[in-house]
C-alpha cells in the first residue's frame, strides 16, 4: 500500500540541473515507466526515489509520508540495477537472503522466503551456485529475487532488460507484467526503450532534459502526444512529420497547406494561431495509405523493410522530407516508384510553431 508522490523535486550537480522541478503522483499498484532519451534524468529521478541521491529541492512522499531524510531501507524500496549488481562472492541463496540477514528475522524464515522467491522465479535449483556460473537471464532473475524477497512497498527498476538479448527481453517483459499483477506492488521502471514503456506501463512518464514532457496511459500518450518531442519519441517506426502552413482555422477545423502544395482539413482547434503561421503535421505510419486518388502526397520509394507480417516503406517527398508507412503483408512497391499516399485526416496530429499540439476540436 504505497503511493508515491514527488513535489517540486529538483536535483543539481554543481551548476548542472539534472532534475528540474518535477511533480508527479503515482498511485498505489501502478506500473509507472519513466522513459526518455539518454541524459534526460530518468535514472537520477529513480535514484532520488530510492534514496541513493539527496534532492536539491522538493519533497518525496511514499505512502503519504515525507521520506527525504530516510534511508533506502526505511523507505521500504527494492531496486533492480542495470548491471544486476549481484554479490559475486556469494551464492544465489546468500545474494537473495542478504537483505533479510540485515534484519532480526529467524534463519528458518529467511530460508523459507528465499526458497519461495526463487521457486517463483524458477531459479530454485540454482541456489547453491555463484553468479558467475549463471546465464544473463538467470542473473536477472536473481536480481529480481533479491528485490521481491523483501516484500517492499515500492519496486524500482533501472533499465533491467538492457543487458539481455532481444528474445529474452520479450520473455522477461511478459514476466514483469505477470509479476506485477501477482504482487501488486507499486513499481517505477526506467527505460530508454519506448516499446518496453508501451507494453509494461500503466502510466508512462516521458522525460526530457530533467522535465516531464507528458504523463498518461500508454495509449493516451500514443494517441494524444502533447508535443513534437513526445510524438517523435513514442511509437516505432517514428511518426511522420511534414511541415506546412496554417491557412484558416476555427475551433473545430484547421485548413493547412503542406510545403508540397497539398491542402488538408485537419480536426484541431487552432483558432488562436494566426493564418500563415508554420505548423507541423504528424501522421503515424499506419495512417498513410497507398493508392489514393485525390488529395494525395506523392512520394518516391527509397527502401522497403519486409518484416513478414507487415512491410515498412520508406519514401521521400518532393520537399526532401522522409515518410514511412506500414503495409500489411508485403508491399508491391519497388525503390524508385512514385506512390500516391492518402492521409487519414481523422488520425492526424497538428503542432504549432513551438512544437506544441493544438488542442482537439471542441
Amino acid at each position: 500500500m504505497a503511493e508515491l508522490s514527488l513535489r517540486h523535486l529538483s536535483k543539481r550537480f554543481g551548476r548542472h540541473t539534472v532534475i528540474d522541478n518535477i511533480s508527479l503522483d503515482i498511485a498505489d499498484r501502478q506500473f509507472a515507466v519513466l522513459v526518455g532519451p539518454s541524459g534526460c534524468g530518468k535514472s537520477t529521478l529513480l535514484r532520488l526515489i530510492a534514496g541513493l541521491e539527496a534532492p536539491t529541492a522538493g519533497e518525496i512522499r511514499i505512502g503519504g509520508e515525507r521520506v527525504n531524510e530516510w534511508t533506502p531501507r526505511e523507505r521500504g524500496i527494492a531496486m533492480v540495477f542495470q548491471s544486476y549488481a549481484l554479490y559475486p562472492h556469494m551464492t544465489v541463496f546468500d545474494n537473495i537472503a542478504f537483505g533479510l540477514t540485515q534484519t532480526s528475522m529467524p534463519r528458518t524464515e529467511i530460508a523459507e522466503r528465499v526458497q519461495k522467491a526463487a521457486d517463483r522465479l524458477q531459479i530454485g535449483h540454482l541456489l547453491a551456485r555463484k553468479p558467475k556460473e549463471l546465464s544473463g537471464g538467470q542473473r536477472q532473475r536473481v536480481a529480481i529475487g533479491r528485490a521481491i524477497v523483501r516484500q517492499p512497498r515500492l519496486f524500482l527498476f533501472d533499465e533491467p532488460l538492457s543487458n539481455l538479448d532481444a528474445s529474452l527481453r520479450t520473455q522477461m517483459r511478459l514476466e514483469f507484467m505477470q509479476l506485477h499483477r501477482e504482487l501488486g506492488a507499486t513499481t517505477v521502471y526506467v527505460t530508454h526503450d519506448q516499446s518496453e514503456a508501451m507494453t509494461l506501463a500503466s502510466l508512462i512518464v516521458v522525460l526530457r532534459q530533467g522535465r516531464i514532457e507528458q504523463i498518461g496511459s500508454p495509449l493516451d500518450v500514443y494517441e494524444h502526444p502533447r508535443n513534437l518531442f513526445v510524438a517523435g519519441f513514442i511509437g516505432s517506426p517514428k511518426m511522420n512529420m511534414i511541415a506546412g502552413r496554417l491557412e484558416a482555422a476555427d475551433a473545430r477545423n484547421a485548413h493547412i497547406v503542406l510545403d508540397g502544395g497539398l491542402r488538408l482539413l485537419v480536426a484541431a482547434d487552432a483558432h488562436h494561431s494566426s493564418p500563415g503561421s508554420k505548423v507541423t503535421l504528424g501522421v503515424r505510419p499506419e495512417h498513410l495509405k497507398e493508392g489514393a486518388t485525390a488529395d494525395a502526397l506523392v512520394a518516391t520509394v527509397v527502401a522497403i523493410e519486409r518484416l513478414g507480417s507487415e512491410s515498412l516503406v520508406h519514401a521521400k517527398l518532393p520537399s526532401a522530407e522522409m515518410v514511412t508507412w506500414r503495409v500489411v503483408g508485403s508491399s508491391a512497391a519497388k525503390p524508385g516508384d512514385a506512390v500516391r499516399l492518402g492521409v487519414d485526416v481523422t488520425c492526424c496530429h497538428l503542432f504549432d510553431e513551438a512544437g506544441n499540439a493544438f488542442p482537439p476540436p471542441e
Binding site: 541513493l52 540485515q102 558467475k132
Partner: protein, 280 residues
C-alpha cells in the same frame, strides 16, 4: 633456411641470453650467500662455486652464540602485527577515501602520501623522544608503532585505488539491502579484496621484516632485537675477524620464510596487481 627463419631464431636466442643475464643478476647474490654459509674458516675466501666440504657449523653457531631464535620470533611478532594493524587501518581509511565524497579528500590523500616521503633519519630523533615518553623504549610495540608510519600510507593508497575500482552498483545494492557501511565493507567489499589485501599485506610484511634503522635505535637488549639488527651485530671470535659464514647463515635462515611466503601468495599478488584492469 630462409633469412626470416634465421632472424627469428637469432631473436629468440638473444631473448634467452637476456633472460639468463637477468636471472643471474637477481639470483647470484642469494646463491653466493647460501654457498658461503656452508663454508668455514679459510675456505670462505676460496672462489669456489660449490663448497668442497659443506658444513652446517655456521648455522649451529648463529643459534648458539646469540638468541637468534628469539630474534626471529621478534621479527615475526613485529611484522605480523604491523601488517594486521596497517591493513585494518588502511582498509577503513580506503573505504572513506575511495567511496565517501567529502571536502578535502584528495588533499588528505596527498598528505597521507607525503607523510611517507620523509626520510627515516629525519623523523628518528623526534620519534625516539615520543617512544621514550610513551614508555615503549626497548619494547617490540615501539617497532610496530613506528613501522605503521610508512606502511599505512602505501597500504591506504593501494587499497583506495582498489576500492574505487569496485562497481558502484554493488555498494548501492548493499545500501538498498539495508547494510550499514561496516557490513558493506566487511561482507561485500572485503571478500572481493582478497588479492589486494594479500598483495599489500605482503609488501608491508617485507618492509617491516627488513627494517633496520628504527629497530636498531628503539631496542637495547639482545632479546628484544629483530633479525636485521641481530645479523648486523653478529661478532667474530676477535675484532679482526668478520664472521662472514655466520652472517650468511643467518641471512639465509631469515630469507627463506620470505621466499616461501612470496611463492605461496604469488598468484594472489599477481592477480592483486592486475585487479581492476578488467571487469570480472
Amino acid at each position: 633456411m630462409t633469412m626470416r627463419m634465421l632472424r627469428r631464431r637469432l631473436i629468440s636466442l638473444a631473448r634467452l641470453v637476456l633472460v639468463a643475464l637477468v636471472v643471474l643478476y637477481a639470483l647470484f647474490p642469494f646463491y653466493w650467500a647460501v654457498v658461503s654459509s656452508l663454508k668455514t674458516g679459510p675456505a670462505l675466501f676460496d672462489v669456489a662455486l660449490l663448497p668442497l666440504h659443506p658444513s652446517f657449523d655456521n648455522y649451529v653457531a648463529v643459534f648458539r652464540d646469540q638468541p637468534f631464535a628469539r630474534n626471529i620470533l621478534n621479527s615475526f611478532v613485529v611484522a605480523l602485527s604491523t601488517v594486521a594493524l596497517a591493513l585494518a587501518l588502511a582498509l577503513t581509511a580506503a573505504y572513506a577515501l575511495g567511496r565517501v565524497a567529502f571536502r578535502g579528500r584528495s588533499l588528505l590523500l596527498i598528505v597521507v602520501l607525503g607523510v611517507s616521503m620523509f626520510p627515516q633519519v629525519a623523523v628518528l630523533s623526534g620519534l625516539f623522544d615520543l617512544i621514550r615518553a610513551l614508555g615503549l623504549y626497548n619494547n617490540l610495540m615501539a617497532l610496530t608503532f613506528s613501522y605503521l608510519i610508512f606502511t599505512v600510507p602505501f597500504t591506504t593508497w593501494i587499497l583506495t585505488t582498489f576500492i574505487r575500482d569496485l562497481p558502484r552498483d554493488l555498494e548501492e545494492a548493499a545500501i538498498v539491502d539495508g547494510a550499514t557501511p561496516w557490513i558493506t565493507l566487511t561482507r561485500v567489499f572485503l571478500p572481493l579484496m582478497g588479492p589486494a589485501m594479500a598483495a599489500t599485506g605482503m609488501l608491508a610484511f617485507m618492509v617491516a621484516w627488513n627494517e633496520f634503522l628504527f629497530a636498531l635505535t628503539f631496542t637495547l637488549t639482545n632479546d628484544m632485537r629483530t633479525v636485521p639488527v641481530a645479523i648486523a651485530l653478529i661478532t667474530g671470535a676477535s675484532q679482526y675477524e668478520l664472521p662472514w659464514g655466520k652472517i650468511m647463515a643467518a641471512s639465509v635462515t631469515v630469507t627463506a620464510p620470505l621466499v616461501i611466503l612470496v611463492l605461496v601468495f604469488q598468484r594472489r599478488i599477481v592477480s592483486g596487481l592486475m585487479a581492476g584492469a578488467i571487469k570480472g
